[in-house]
Amino acid sequence: MEIVYVYTKKRNEFGRQCNFSDRSAELHVDILPDPSLAVNFIERDPCDVPIQCTQEMSEHEVNTERFESDTRGINHVEGGWPKDVNPHEMEQTIRFRKKVEKDENYISTVMQLGNNMEHCIKQNNAIDIYREYFEEEEVVEESEVQPSAKTINVFRDPNEVKRTASSLSWHPDGSRKLAVAYSSLEFQKVSKDMSLNSYIWDIENPNKPEMTLKPVSPLVCLEYNPKDCHILVGGSYNGQIAYWDTRKGSQPVEMSTIEHSHRDPVYRVIWLQSKTGTDTFSASTDGQVLWWDIRKMSEPTERLILDPNKKGNLDNALGAISLEFETTMPTKFMVGTEQGLVVSCNRKAKTPAEKIVCMYSGHHGPIYALQRNPFFPKNFLTVADWTARIWSEDIKESSIMWTKYHTAYLSDGSWSPVRPSVFFTIKMDGTLDVWDFLFKQNDPTLSVKVCDEALNSLRVQDNGHFLACGSQLGTVTLLEISSGLCTLQKNEKALATAMFERETKREKILEARHREMRLKERSRSEQSKEEDTKEGDGEESPEELITRIEKDFYEIVEAELKKRDKGEEKKVRLILNSFTGLRVVRGSLRVVKGSSKIVKGFTNKGGGPDSTL
């Protein structure tokens, strides 16, 4: 069977464009959900799927390797001459020059340049264009600058096993170099691989130390000779003193003999003022202060035992941790001890007993730093335990000024060499504090966190602008202090003098009062020994005091109760008892110190006076 479909179109409708037209939506099929089919499927647990349509990126860190740069110079020789002219031949050069001078371009150029030049020359001659014309109007703008300290450079211990940077010393000429002594001060933590070397760094090159010093035992302290910048003296962990000459190499030139040296690590060595410039003295925790002449290191020239009883008994001696010597007062020196006492000594005394002049007590722990104020030598700074104190030589009972107790141990401190009222302290939590007591007495003017580990040593450069601090892991950080903290302010000396005098006077008055009170007590205790039966208004024993106060307290409570019963407010008395301490309850308190007083609080209904909460 044939299926034929005939499709007819009128001739004149051929090639007509298509006509599109809109029509409304028509529903063709509607398939409704069939719940019976759902039996074949299980619902899936909903899960969170994050989708992000961005470029995939990854983070990379790159740290360039330290590269070492070297400076080289090139010798500049006259050059630029054309090939046919030999610069050494006078004739040829003269001929060349004459040729150039005939060039027209040359003539016109020189004329023109000459005019310009003349103008400027005349200008220079007529008036000094760079002169300060408005000098009087210069306003001091330093007060607006916030004090700050910026880290300039960090010098790390190149050895694998890190040791503490226990002492720093600046090069005496221009301070371009820094000598650092490395040692491990922790008890018995010395490992076999620990290097014994100490280094001299050039501050421009933190990658590699400039010179190595190789002692027999690690150096605990190191000092440049202020008179001769090539000589350094160092005190080592085993008690020996050694001195180096940087021109002669890394080995010490001479070392002191072990029998005559200290028996404990040498904590401080200082150069003395002498004609030969070769005298030093050293202090150690074995209780001795030894004087040496570096030309003859076999034996100390003098010995002093820090026995507080002045008997020269080594067993009683106080261990010395720091020394102080001021070249303007060459006969006196001070020693800071492990026991927290500062011993002031006179070098020129005839007998050892007279050598120890007096002692200042007031610290609880070893005195790590001891320094006289460079502008006011009568006042000195001690840094120990958790405080730093300023003392006056005349007041022996206590310091005249002190900082608050910090949370971390203070390990070193130093005055600023340019400003009499500024000093620096470093703490075991790695912060450096800069104090300016003319500006703020309670807190440091600037507190900077230098590193995460403990800081052990601090040295300010002679210009007061830079300071270096050494840490427990051997990292020495060089910091620059903002100019406000290292330029002498107007009237600063006068103000500092006034402040010191005022504090000294206050302490003197207190000292006098204490003395009076002590005398009175002494006389009173003698009196009471004679009169046994008499009941004086003087000292009551603690038990009597307690019963008396309790009686007073209960009386007051009774009186209040009676008053309160009249009112019907729901209050509870919070009783502050000076012997049992303060109990805190919810509600607000008004605390009044002293012997027992009743304070109002508010909570639920209270009971009688016995309900101490």
Partner: protein, 96 residues
Amino acid sequence: QAEVEETLKRIQTHKGVIGTIVVNAEGIPIRTTLDNSTTVQYAGLLHQLTMKARSTVRDIDPQNDLTFLRIRSKKHEIMVAPDKEYMLIVIQNPSE
């Protein structure tokens, strides 16, 4: 050419002038009133400095160009008048 001589002589006789040097584009001193080693030093160093100064000025603004360079030091003032082919250097001690 006599004018050139006259100009240079006039410059040299101004108050405070220590020396005058004319240098060409290659750094060869054409005319100088100072001794040879000093001249060579000044010529070489100032030439490089002028080139650097000129490139700095033109980097900042390409339409600009260096017209004069003055270096004042503690002891004296060095003035450089640069040109395309030659350079005139005068060292003067400004009177105070």
